[in-house]
Symmetry: C2
Subunit: 426 residues, 2 copies
């Protein structure tokens, strides 16, 4: 690290000693998991740097932007929260989900232990003052996507202002109305806290910027369909993960730069692994930095992950917002429609998700699907019943992995994934 | 059993051997837990009989009624589903939540094991053809109250028609509109399946009958506030539990008959336990027959349960529907308002529930509160964080018990409850 980040962290009230410890652990794990990979795209250097300095440059940039333009920094936890609105009102959206068990003890002082590790992680990062991302946010935006999150906002709100968006549970006409109301209310909230008023031009620009990011990620994922894939699953996952933290326009540019390189590789038939390597498609719950567990197991066992139907994967970028409406009302409708087209297991029924997974598993030429469930996530866990049947009917082998952020089950998962890969390679 | 129920069970396709086994277990447990209690109200004889014959008389009565009047039998799983509508359209509502681990293996063939035991139990009863209640239902009504239930309806619907009501997650104006829509849609659904049309008179009568039942239960619980209480917690719980299975008008009459007896006891100062016995108030998740675990532990350790803020307790009967509106629209509004006044942890925020628990704990002269959470119920589990703090601030001791339907933790829970009672008696 060439820049002294301590004064910044100190000004945010971060627990410096433990932040050092956390970053120190990341500094050991990351080279092991990432830098040891063969034939990495050159463009990954940027993302390596961004990860090493994850609590540094992105925070400093946001604080600088805030100082310069009075931008509000808004923390979010779900891909249903419309970043477009935050950007259009001069703000900076940043994802705050937690991917590390490092902060569990801090969460466990308040919350029960038998809840989703993603929630336990971010609550711990907040409670332990371990995350500069949390500490530079003006307010947080929660949503009602699952039971544990829904109830956790009430507790987070006591330590940091937390605005809640109500996501409906079905996709009928009344649900669309409710969700439209929620987006309009969120616009009002963001207008009030920013002191700005939303204009057609600003919203359109916000939409274009986010669409640009999503298009770059789509382009990235498109290259993964190639045989052999020109990028490892771990590297692609890292890029998707950084989409939630990095400055949007530079991120889009850097992803496109990697895509140029990857498309050239595809043309030459240059891959990161042999053509015969088992290709796995991940479907399920999000994987947040530094949760690279399943990808690392697959790719250190001779397989390759070719796509993720998760919130940190295709679900995040698949749908674009229609940029054509000329009025605020029209653009808001476009936002409503785009966000309601995401298929999360929090909706019932949610059969479109099953259709999509089958379609994508085929498009990505997957030999099998790993259904990944964060422990205690009832919605994705129960939805597996229908998903498993549908995949098997479609002739696609599937393996369910339920796990948290600990290392205790790594050996067992490795054994199961190796056996699965052996089975689907026959 | 004086009547041969086997032909009826056989006609419903029940697994006769396992039904015998289940009822045999109940026949051993019930006398131990219930009949051994001293000084029971005479009126409990009716409820003892109803429990012993739980898979017999109630089923035969419903089938007879169906034959006679073409009544549709509608299975429900949540106190937000308006029984008034089912009754008004000539139907019979019946509660199907499961309270026994007997059916877990049947559920485990389909569902993950780490979900709420109540869901696991009822899914097992259905999948194993173990419940004549399920098998005589024309259709089931699910709701979107929690993640695991929400996703389970999709699976149940494959084996028995399951209609789903969307409960909103907040109580604002748009949520009220959504819930009103849902009640109107449920009326349409019930009209369609019954071939009847809802009239003002019929809905008013349905409301009056359910109000009558709720008033009787309120009267019952009122007597429990006395020092000493004239009825054990176990007996009062059993009555509340039977409210979901028994013929409504007879049930109301029998509850009122017990209340006559209990009110006479209260006048005389006659109780089921000494005045010094620790009085405990239960708050949390539902307790369904034969889940008498916590009550039995408390009451075989020298304490008494004086009230339950649960779906099988005060939450079920506290609010009445306004009977005065003269139009269907007015009566529907009254239903909407009544049901949205229930405070379940599936709403956010839900601070009214906390206020109610404090108020009720005081009214019922509780020495302490046992916060009861069915395992894996994130909403009630996380809501405890705020509840615990509020109770402590109000000077009310509280103990959290998280449990499923197994016996493995009985000893540990007994030790904790005994220590808690000792502490609050000092």
């Amino acid at each position: 690290m060439t820049v002294d980040r301590y004064p910044m962290w100190e000004s945010l009230g971060i627990d410096l000693e433990r932040n050092d410890e956390f970053l120190g652990m990341l500094g050991v794990v990351y080279p092991e998991v990432y830098l040891s990979q063969p034939n990495r795209p050159k463009g990954m250097a940027y993302f390596d740097g961004a990860t090493f300095d994850i609590h540094g440059a992105p925070i400093q940039e946001m604080l600088d932007e805030k100082k310069k333009t009075d931008a509000q920094i808004v923390g979010t936890f779900c891909i249903y929260v419309p970043d477009e609105v935050i950007l259009a009102l001069g703000g900076i959206p940043v994802g705050l989900c937690g991917g590390s068990s490092y902060s569990f003890p801090d969460a466990d002082k308040t919350l029960p232990r038998n809840i989703c590790p993603l929630i336990r992680s971010y609550v711990g990062f907040k409670m332990g003052k371990l995350s500069p991302f949390f500490e530079c946010c003006d307010f947080l935006v929660g949503e009602t996507t699952c039971d544990a999150k829904k109830k956790t906002w009430e507790i987070l709100d006591e330590v940091q202002p937390t605005y809640v968006m109500e996501l409906p549970q079905r996709k009928g006409e009344i649900d669309r109305q409710l969700w439209r109301d929620e987006i309009v209310n969120f616009i009002k909230k963001t207008e009030d806290t920013s002191g700005k008023r939303l204009t057609v031009e600003a919203l359109k620009e916000g939409i274009q910027r986010v669409n640009g990011k999503r298009k770059a990620l789509k382009r990235l994922y498109e290259t993964r369909k190639a045989l052999p894939p020109p990028i490892s699953g771990k590297d692609a996952l890292l890029i998707s993960q950084l989409a939630f933290y990095d400055q949007i326009d530079r991120f889009t540019e850097k992803v496109n730069a990697v895509c140029d390189e990857l498309e050239a590789r595809v043309k030459k038939g240059d891959g990161v692994i042999g053509k015969d390597a088992p290709r796995l498609f991940i479907s399920g719950t999000p994987q947040v930095i530094p949760n690279w567990k399943v990808h690392h197991i697959v790719e250190s066992s001779g397989g390759v992950v070719v796509g993720e139907e998760t919130c940190t994967g295709i679900r995040y970028f698949n749908d674009l917002v229609d940029e054509s409406p000329a009025t605020l009302d029209g653009l808001i409708d476009a936002l409503v429609d785009r966000y309601l087209s995401i298929n999360c297991s929090c909706f019932t029924p949610n059969d479109m998700r099953i259709d999509q997974v089958i379609q994508w598993a085929k498009e990505y030429r997957a030999d099998g699907v790993i259904y990944y469930v964060l422990q205690f996530c009832h919605a994705y866990n129960v939805e597996y019943v229908k998903m498993e049947r549908a995949l098997k009917e479609a002739g696609i082998p599937v393996l369910k992995i339920e796990s948290d952020y600990g290392d205790e089950d790594t050996g067992q998962i490795k054994t199961r994934i190796e056996a699965f890969m052996e089975q689907i390679s026959q």
